[in-house]
């Protein structure tokens, strides 16, 4: 069997899904059609009983986070400060089985309306759990308004979405799952798809012992949250420096670190260690890409006119992996993104918005030199750590190709001709 990057079965599924209205039936037919494929043979019969890296399995079958950052305190338990500051409180305590079940769900295109895309289609592990696009694309190739944020270290976040409108991962995920432009499903379809799959039914009974009946929406959300909360990245070269090994960074990178935390550039005032975000909303006056309407951001969701054009400060961990940058991908690379901050308050805003927006007080004119911007980019690359990157399952319970549509940045679109290769 070919190891080509294309995913023929995804398209078989898509094709059949169009022909046959019920997915259970299509999966059945699909199974019969391609019985010989490895995907089905590899369909998970059981869930992992060990925690992902970064977690200790404790009494009560709980995976609890362990990191050297637990050696440190933080002021008012806020999880912001300097290199040796404790993290914000994390969501942990999920069971190994729930995390592993969440992994299957995360990579299974069964969760989208037409079974074409999975969560990983926009949050791909090989693209920093983003998709390399300025704005993400949902089913039917429809473009959404904003960029897919990275999922690394979401266990530590208190709010979700660029405009901070959700308070939990569970609350967040119903957005993309059911948005017509994103995964386009709905609760009934999701329950029917998952509940109609014998493998999933069995796996949910393992992950939620004592629970009777078919999988519930809460269990689906909880499992996906469990997997997302297991994506920990705290072992970058920067972290080695932070824990006391000062040779971990080159002279250029240290210079960049000092510019980053200086009160001239002020990056660390909002992208505060150890998570490199202070989790607040900031109005920085970022431009929209050519030809796009202004996105009012948190003003719309909070009703606070002072937050017009405000977005949540993103973590910069693994930032080198997640170009393009800003909420709608205004900047292709980190150099341009860094330069934005030195060009003056509101420089990129249309005239009427300059008067209207309350740009954050930390946005000013630091007059950073060209080489200082280069050093900032050098430093940002030291925040990369993917040592705990989870594997993509070889097969998912639906029998569909794991991930489904893969982001363009990872290769050519899978072609329907790929069917012949099976």
């Amino acid at each position: 069997m070919s190891k080509a990057p294309s995913n023929p079965r995804a398209h078989a599924g898509l094709f059949l899904g169009l022909v046959l209205s019920t997915l259970v039936l299509s999966t059945l037919v699909l199974s019969t059609l391609v019985l010989s494929t490895r995907a089905l043979a590899d369909a998970p019969a059981q869930l992992r009983e060990h925690c992902p890296p970064g977690f200790e399995l404790t009494d009560g079958n709980r995976c609890e986070l362990r990191t050297l950052y637990q050696n440190y305190d933080s002021l008012q338990y806020a999880g912001v400060g300097g290199p040796r500051t404790g993290l914000p409180s994390a969501r942990d305590g999920f069971s190994p089985q729930q995390i592993d079940l969440g992994r299957y769900l995360f990579f299974d295109p069964l969760l989208s309306a037409d079974n074409s895309i999975s969560c990983a289609s926009c949050h791909h592990p090989d693209l920093g759990f983003s998709d390399g696009r300025a704005r993400s694309v949902g089913i039917d190739g429809a473009e959404v308004r904003r960029a897919a944020p990275s999922l690394w270290n979401v266990a530590f976040l208190q709010s979700f979405f660029w405009d901070a409108r959700a308070d939990s991962l569970e609350q967040q995920m119903v957005g993309p799952l059911y948005d017509a432009k994103e995964m386009g499903s709905n609760p009934e379809q999701l329950l029917a798809e998952i509940g109609g799959n014998a493998t999933y039914r069995a796996l949910f009974r393992v992950a939620f012992p004592g629970s009777e009946g078919p999988p519930t929406l809460e269990q689906i959300y909880y499992s996906i949250a469990a997997f997302q909360a297991s994506l920990i990245s705290l072992n970058s070269r920067y972290d080695q420096y932070a824990h006391g090994y000062h040779d971990a960074l080159t002279d250029n990178e240290k210079e960049g670190m000092n510019i980053f935390r200086s009160f001239v550039a002020r990056c660390a005032e909002c992208h505060t260690p150890p998570l490199f975000t202070n989790q607040q909303i900031a109005v920085i006056g970022v431009p929209e890409p050519e030809g796009r309407q202004l996105d009012a951001g948190a003003e719309t969701t909070s009703g606070n006119p002072g937050l017009r054009g405000g977005f949540k400060v993103p973590s910069l961990r693994n930032i080198a992996k997640t170009a393009p940058y800003m909420h709608s991908g205004a900047f292709d690379n980190l150099r341009d993104a860094a330069e934005f901050y030195t060009l003056g308050r509101g420089h990129a805003l249309p005239e009427e918005e300059k008067q209207r927006m309350t740009v954050h007080w930390h946005i000013w004119e630091p007059e950073l030199a060209d080489d200082e911007l280069d050093r900032l980019v050098d430093f940002l690359a030291t925040l990369t750590d993917e040592a705990f990157k989870p594997g993509i399952p070889a097969a998912v319970p639906s029998g569909l190709a794991p991930v489904g549509v893969i982001p363009e940045a990872l290769g050519p679109k899978p072609s329907i001709a790929g069917l012949n290769e099976t």
Binding site: F55, R66, N71, N235, N258, F263, V264, I281, G306, A387
Partner: protein, 498 residues
């Protein structure tokens, strides 16, 4: 007349003889100890030195830095406990201290100071993140960002520095617990000269701040005392703020006492968009949303707009409301203060409020917005507007609180070896080693069998690994972890059971 002249001559001769004899007898008298060491100790009410729980221990090696040498090179070579002495000279560099317990100490010789010179090109003079840091006896000038900026370092001691035009702030500790800022002189700063941001248990005393936009600012911080400072000729004197949009959202328990807050009428040269850019030139004390601020014993004179201004977020300019931060200034207490000649040339907003309350004379204390459970000891002493809701304080002094500095340094905690080992094993090793599954490296079980009672063997191997197994990649060295952490991880790895 002649007798008088003679007397003078005799006196001069005697004096000259006395000096000569004195010099001969005394020579260099430094070796002689004069005065009993206990002369002022054990006095009634003594609570000990303010410095008892802050600053570096100074117990280690002394590194001398002289003109032409690099201070940073000395910091890089220093171990916790060390003292870096900086001799007179000009040092054009940014010094960053990401280790604990370091003393950076200038040495003044014949009135010559060590000068850190930023030439308006360098960002910050001293950046520290370590705990137990002392920065003292330095002249720091012409930087763009800060003279001394702390990020999460606890137990800091910043004293006896002369700081001139160092950009946005002079002394700026952020995210720190337990710190003393004392006997510094700061001028020419375009925001706050002394800016305590998101910190706890801070003492700011005996500083002179002048010709700055803001003199001293306590922001999103708790348990602070600002006392005995000479705060003059700034745009605004002393600020106690909750600034919205920050991750730590409270300010409470601030005592502002016994300061001289004089003639703070300097035109505002704050950076456009900054919070302080909205402060009217001529403001003595400004409390914005800070709670439990007590103002006592200050001499507040000659501030042309207002002596004491208390406001909530709704009435403050340049402020975006934050649902996580309480916008009002509650539990304010104004005890006895000496106020004189404030508000003599005020802003239209205050004039309008004055008219509204039918108040004559210059307003010295103004409150705008709701202020619950606030009090003033003797309202009749001052001309006030907006204080009708204030009760009479049931207390007259803060004197029983000498400091909020801690008795013991903060976060000098011991980590149990097992916790350290567990955090390193799961937090780092588990990326490649699982208990009984082949990952990037061999399973922990296999390693346990190999090194049974030999954690040192593991430590030695992981410090500089060599390729051992054909079916696994070579292990990257773990020498970035300290010896202690490597040993703790090895010991934990040998006893882990699943």
């Amino acid at each position: 007349m002649g007798k008088k002249l003679l007397q003078i001559i005799v006196a001069v001769v005697l004096l000259a003889a006395g000096i000569v004899v004195g010099m001969k007898l005394a020579g260099d008298n430094r070796a002689t100890v004069v005065g009993d060491a206990s002369r002022y100790s054990n006095a009634a009410g003594s609570t000990g030195l303010l410095t008892r729980s802050v600053g570096g221990s100074g117990t280690g090696t002394v590194h001398d830095v002289r003109d032409g040498n690099s201070i940073q090179a000395a910091v890089a070579a220093a171990e916790p406990g060390d003292v870096i002495r900086i001799f007179p000279g000009t040092y054009t560099e940014t010094v960053y201290i990401d280790k604990d317990d370091i003393v950076l100490s200038g040495v003044v010789v014949n009135g010559q100071w060590p000068v850190m010179e930023g030439n308006k090109e360098l960002n910050d003079a001293v950046l520290y993140s370590g705990n137990d840091i002392t920065v003292e006896n330095l002249q720091i000038q012409h930087y763009k960002g800060n003279a001394v900026m702390g990020q999460a370092g606890n137990n800091f001691l910043i004293r006896n520095n002369n700081i001139i035009d160092t950009g946005v702030y002079g002394i700026f500790p952020e995210f720190g617990t337990n710190g003393l800022i004392t006997h510094n002189v700061l001028s020419g700063i375009e925001d706050a000269a002394i800016y305590v941001g998101m910190s706890d248990n801070i003492h700011v005393t005996n500083n002179e701040v002048f010709d700055n936009v803001a003199g001293i600012e306590i922001e999103n911080s708790r348990h602070s005392i600002v006392e005995n400072n000479y705060v003059h000729d700034n745009t605004g004197g002393i600020l106690v703020f909750i600034t919205p949009g920050l991750p730590i959202k409270t300010t409470f328990d601030t005592i502002v006492r016994n300061n001289f807050i004089v003639n703070n009428n300097t035109p505002n040269f704050g950076i456009p968009g900054s919070t302080v850019a909205g402060i009217p030139a001529g403001t003595g004390i400004l409390n914005m949303a800070g709670d439990q601020t007590t103002i006592e014993g200050n001499v507040i004179t000659g501030n042309k707009v207002i002596g004491i201004l208390i406001t909530d977020h709704m009435n403050a300019p340049n402020v975006t409301l934050d649902p996580g931060a309480d916008p009002s200034s509650d539990e304010i207490a104004i005890l006895d203060n000496m106020m004189w000649n404030n508000g003599y040339d005020t802003i239209p907003e205050i004039k309008a409020l004055k008219t509204l309350e039918l108040v004559d004379g210059n307003v010295e204390i103004l409150n705008v917005g709701a202020s619950a459970n606030s009090c003033i000891l003797d309202p009749d002493k001052y001309t006030t507007v907006g204080l009708k809701s204030f009760g009479t304080c049931g207390f007259t002094t803060t004197a029983d609180v000498s400091t909020y500095l801690l008795d013991e340094p903060a976060q000098r905690r011991e980590i149990a070896a097992e916790d350290m080992g567990k955090r390193a094993y799961y937090g780092i090793c588990a990326g490649c080693h699982s208990y009984n599954i082949k990952m990037i490296g061999p399973p922990t079980q296999v390693i346990q069998a190999l090194y049974m009672d030999n954690p040192q063997g593991i430590v030695d191997y992981i410090t500089s690994p060599t390729k051992k197994r054909d079916d696994y990649p070579e292990m990257p060295p773990q020498n970035y972890l300290s010896e202690d952490v490597r040993m703790a991880a090895a010991e934990y790895m040998l006893q882990v059971k699943q």
